[in-house]
Symmetry: C2
């Protein structure tokens, strides 16, 4: 069953989007098996200390993207085949990277500086 222990909420944006992103990252990373069950809305809401409606909103969006399936009364489960997995991975990777590239270019950062900065911060993060 999918695990939410590694999800820590912050103030970067709506909670339901953070939950949505967490599940997507799990799918993209391959740590979530196809057909794997998700913990119920109530369980997740209690674990994260948020309202069940907020979790429901994230789950509903996941279902609208075709990444999970829900049946009234039974637990929801993931339905992410290899194509969906690849699609989500590309979507998430490009999303952040393009935002960062846009910001860097606007600040006059060169490609070489950007690569060096990413390399430095990546290694710093490894040690932390």
């Amino acid at each position: 069953m999918l695990n939410f222990d590694r999800l820590t909420l912050d103030e970067s944006g709506p909670i339901y989007l953070q939950i949505l992103r967490y599940v997507k990252q799990g799918i993209a990373a391959g740590t979530i098996e196809n057909g794997e069950e998700l913990p119920s809305r109530r369980v997740v809401s209690a674990l994260l200390g948020v309202n069940p409606n907020t979790v429901q909103k994230a789950y509903r969006l996941l279902e609208e993207e075709g990444l999970i399936q829900s049946h009234t009364g039974a637990k929801s489960c993931v339905v992410a085949d290899e194509a969906a997995r690849s699609r989500v991975r590309t979507q998430l990777l490009g999303q952040d990277a393009r935002a960062m590239i846009s910001a860097m270019k606007q600040m006059g950062v060169t490609r070489e500086e950007a690569l060096a900065l990413l390399d430095t911060l990546w290694k710093e993060d490894d040690q932390a």
Copy 2:
């Protein structure tokens, strides 16, 4: 006088934060001179098609960070010395980069893959 022509609003977050970031990026890039005047709240609001109060909120936050100065009746102006410029630059660069690194690591991306991806997307962006 500071120019807002290159600021295009999107749905990524609050408008006042997008204005705040635009000015900060200008300061970090060095395209904004020390002592340079800012267009009035009313002018910017008309240009962007938003409410004057929204622009005022961004300007107020900039003043609280010590990046601009305002005097009743006269235009506000930038007061960003080299130290402030460096501080803002580091703040903005680290902000986006660390978010991307965190997301990538959670998806099982290696440092080499990350550097290659950034290099590829950067060049793609150059052509677009």
